[in-house]
């Protein structure tokens, strides 16, 4: 089955990809904080923007991908813009500033995750002191998300084959049943995964060679 990739450009090779993940994480985090607390001046944001643009350029990530990803801030921006009429004349300035800050932050994150493989990102986060259980859950999610999406798609296809057209209430209850079955299958899968893992010596700690 065809899937969208969560970190499809992280396997490219460029100077940005080769920087150590820990350094990239710390630098991105520092820049995010800087964007929030730095002086609200145009030159300040322009320098940040040009810097990010340069990094995207040398890391060979397609610009169209970055633009598409930044669209997720739009619903919130619209929310803020809707309320401008209730605001004083500051409204447009607030909306503009919010947009710029949000835009810079999101590009930083896109740059971080598109130039770092997820496994390396997790290893770096783990060495930065993120609790083991959170790292393990994140890696399980990354591994089994696609498997469960496959199962979900199979069940949805089966429903489509069997029911020509249902009314809204019927669809609603069928979908809820599908979610219930998906949980049961996830549970059973986790049992099998645990059996396989414990055979290989898993006791709450992943052993590496």
């Amino acid at each position: 089955m065809k899937h969208f990739y969560l970190d499809k450009y992280s396997y490219l090779d460029s100077p940005v990809h080769r920087i150590r993940p820990v350094i990239k994480i710390v630098a991105s985090f520092a820049f995010l904080i800087y964007v929030i607390i730095s002086p609200e001046k145009w030159w300040n944001y322009s320098i940040g923007f040009l810097g990010l643009l340069f990094l995207i350029f040398i890391s060979k990530i397609p610009f169209s991908f970055v633009v598409k990803r930044t669209m997720v801030i739009l619903p919130f921006l619209i929310l803020v813009i809707i309320f401008i009429p209730f605001f004083n004349e500051n409204g447009i300035k607030i909306a503009g500033l919010t947009f710029i800050k949000s835009f810079l932050s999101i590009i930083t994150l896109i740059l971080l995750t598109s130039t770092t493989k997820f496994s390396e990102l997790l290893r770096a986060l783990s060495s930065l002191g993120v609790p083991r259980i959170i790292i393990l859950i994140l890696s399980f999610m990354y591994r089994y998300f696609f498997v469960l999406v496959d199962e979900l798609e199979k069940m949805l296809r089966a429903v489509k084959l069997r029911s020509f057209k249902n009314n809204r209430f019927k669809t609603f209850s069928i979908l809820a049943n599908i979610v219930g079955v998906l949980f049961i299958r996830s549970y059973e899968r986790s049992e099998r995964v645990y059996n396989a893992m414990s055979m290989r010596g898993f006791d709450g700690e992943i052993k590496k060679l």
Binding site: I37, I110, Y144, L182
Partner: protein, 204 residues
């Protein structure tokens, strides 16, 4: 409802992160105490399950649709603190890989959907003597609360007028809350029909 970076001011960021990460650290400690190794794959795959079922959109009135949040669902199944960890990791994954929600606003998002959704949701579920009906009520309350908290955070940050945003955001989510509570109820009753033993898993 995932607040992106840039939409909150410094004070709100500090306060929400302090609250959320305080609770999250407590939850990690609580879950780590006598943790059975089988629990780790269970929580991991369940987190993937929640993430997957959030992709499914349920048809609502008119052309609108709704997707599950699942905070109450997950804490009824695995317990409130496991639920909080799972919701938080789900939010972290969405923030770093899909940019749904920011990094500095993680605290706010965990507060709205994790602490409100799992801890408080579970408390309400317990108040109704752990019945499916209680889970449905809890699901409705947590959705309206999450929308309300989101409006309050944006309002305190000076991005939207507090009162108007509070009423319109939580008002708009009354319907979504009903959808969430119907789905939570239907999913739990489907599980109790097929594998009733799964409703009695260890809850931490």
């Amino acid at each position: 409802m995932h607040i992106p970076d840039g939409f909150l001011n410094t004070e709100t960021i500090i306060i929400t992160n302090a609250i959320s990460f305080g609770f999250l650290i407590y939850a990690v400690k609580k879950v780590n105490r006598n943790l059975h190794p089988a629990r780790i794959p269970l929580m991991g795959v369940t987190a993937a399950f929640i993430f997957t079922s959030q992709l499914l959109s349920f048809p609502l009135i008119g052309g609108t649709s709704f997707h599950l949040l699942g905070g109450v669902l997950i804490s009824v199944l695995l317990g409130p603190f496991s639920g909080l960890i799972i919701m938080s990791t789900s939010l972290i994954l969405q923030a770093i890989l899909l940019q749904h929600g920011g990094i500095l606003t993680l605290g706010a998002n965990i507060l709205n959907m994790g602490i409100g959704g799992c801890l408080l949701g579970y408390l309400i579920y317990k108040l109704f003597k752990s019945t499916l009906f209680g889970a449905a009520i809890a699901a409705w309350i947590t959705i309206v609360l999450a929308a309300g908290l989101c409006a309050v955070e944006l309002g305190i940050s000076g991005r939207v007028p507090l009162k108007t945003a509070l009423f319109s955001m939580s008002g708009a989510h009354i319907l979504a809350g009903i959808a969430e509570s119907l789905i939570t109820f239907a999913v739990l009753s489907a599980i109790s029909k097929i594998r009733p033993d799964l409703l009695a898993l260890e809850k931490t």
